[in-house]
Symmetry: C2
Subunit: 125 residues, 2 copies
């Protein structure tokens, strides 16, 4: 995998921010540094970076896929009030019964939905 300028910018953007972005948001952010980058390039590189394990995807009930430069296993919380995605430590999961049946687990995703602390405070007022 060649380390192109475009790929470098996309990866460093995702690594520099502990947040979750969809392809369009990444496109807009990277365009500030590479004005004529195309959306197709963003998608292609995001795909390659995921394949390579440099970043991960977060699938939620929202329509678009979010990309995350923080790749250690963790749980996501989507706030249905403000839409923000929060990171939390994973609780212990062994998935032993599943593995014992002969299933190979390569990837694990947990997404919680609800209302975050901030939005809960606002609602009380």
């Amino acid at each position: 995998m060649r380390l192109t300028h475009q790929r470098e910018e996309i990866l460093s953007f995702l690594r520099s921010r502990r947040a979750h972005f969809n392809a369009t948001e990444i496109y807009d952010a990277v365009r500030a540094r590479i004005p004529n980058i195309s959306l197709g390039t963003v998608y292609r590189n995001l795909g390659k970076l995921v394949e390579d394990g440099e970043i991960i995807t977060v699938e939620t009930e929202n329509r678009s896929i979010y990309y995350d430069g923080y790749i250690a296993p963790h749980t996501h919380f989507v706030c249905n009030g403000c839409g923000h995605i929060y990171d939390f430590e994973d609780e212990e999961h062994s998935f032993k019964p599943i593995k014992d049946q002969g299933f190979t687990i390569n990837k694990q995703r947990t997404v919680l939905y609800g209302i975050c602390t901030e939005c809960n405070k606002k609602n009380k007022k």
Copy 2:
């Protein structure tokens, strides 16, 4: 919420099969019984049924949303070999640290990805 013929057929189809279907598959299945039902109607009713808690959605790394008539909390396993989605019991999760911070959790989704027992067997041959 009116229990229309269309809504009834969609719901009973999902309840009768312990499997996971996307909107097009449900459309095709229900069309066998209501030939002139429209895809828009299928989507609208799926949305209402989800809102009402009669069915749940499963978001995966595949592009389309899957709908599930089995609403008790459970974990999904997506096989990257055959594409089949399996159901498993949830392990115990308290999410206590998250709740203690003032977050309200309304919904929890865990999706595992890997290779199922059947596909593992086939690969060995």
